[in-house]
Subunit: 205 residues, 2 copies
């Protein structure tokens, strides 16, 4: 499978499928269909079948998908069949909430390297992990080989932090700062900004 062949929008739907399927197993289901899954997600069954067909044959006409099997396949495709270490830079209210967020663990991620530039926070513990001085982020990230990071610092510091992370080897950044980041080719950035989502809705409301 050549990664470049898979449209980014298809890749973006896989985590949604994985999440819905995991939810189904929690509710006791063992088998599902593209029709049932589509109904839960507001996506057509044809779209789901087409998306999955990029990666192989996962279901059978008539019997549908074995949920556990499909979950395993999706985890493999998304490479979350093992746990990723994630660095977090910025321990404000949001950073704190992220560090405590229980849903990372069973979905492939662990925030295990935490940084802040506030001397009052450095050296204290958050969710059992020591908070390190942001000045050490580059060295520690390189040393630990961490490739994923979350940025939860004020907008005016975010680009500088991103530059340091990328230099240290980070290849995927989840950016909570309300600012677009400029990163080199090959580094992925995803953005979370509640205001952007709200403004997208007020246009229609």
């Amino acid at each position: 499978m050549e990664k470049t062949e898979i449209p980014d929008i298809v890749v973006g739907r896989l985590p949604i499928y994985l999440r819905a399927l995991s939810r189904m197993t929690l509710e006791g289901a063992r088998v599902t269909s593209s029709h049932e899954l589509g109904k839960k997600l507001g996506i057509s069954s044809a779209q789901i079948r087409k998306d999955l067909s990029h990666f192989g044959e996962f279901g059978k006409q008539g019997t549908g998908y074995h949920i556990e099997f499909l979950i395993g396949k999706l985890r493999e495709i998304l490479k979350v069949n093992h746990e990723w270490e994630v660095a977090l830079v910025g321990v404000g209210d949001l950073g704190r909430a992220l560090a405590h967020y229980a849903s990372f663990g069973d979905r492939g991620f662990r925030i295990s390297l935490i940084f802040d530039s506030d001397p009052a926070k450095v050296g204290t513990k958050l969710n059992n992990f020591e908070i390190y001085d942001s000045a050490r982020a580059g060295d520690l990230i390189k040393e630990r080989g961490v490739t994923l990071a979350m940025i939860a610092v004020p907008a005016e510091h975010a680009q500088k932090v991103a530059d340091e992370l990328v230099k240290a080897g980070v290849r995927g950044i989840l950016n909570y700062a309300p600012i677009n980041l400029v990163v080199p080719e090959g580094v992925k950035v995803q953005y979370i900004d509640p205001v952007v989502h709200l403004q997208r809705m007020t246009f229609y409301v």
Copy 2:
């Protein structure tokens, strides 16, 4: 301007433009070009001009855009030229971080109606607003005419909460619970789930 004529993906980029332009004014800029804006955002200048052309003529060939003027226009288009009241259901770590998030205020939103079902939290204050019992959400939302809400409750309660919100008149939901919601036609839902974003990156890393 017929709203149905504007592609949803264009609407989705407007808040990003607005955010970048607001950032530019903070940095002292008064005029910009689609080229400069595009470079900051990793979007082509042609795309930006095309997106904006859906709504009118905002710049001049050669002189570019007056940033304050364009900000005003975008605020008008997105209807954030006035402040929206937002209800928040669920005061865990995340809900608390949202209530304290400073960036809502100057971007058109105020979390002013807060709910939780935990008796220990009900009646206490969060960011100067009283936390009400979730059982009263429907009545209070209707009474106040609130049309936007954020859901930050555990996944297993999110659909029920959404049903109540919609029944009370909510037309836009920002859902932080890691589950897809089923809502009637005409109600918008936007999702924020950090794991979905992380998994989208691990595919490539």
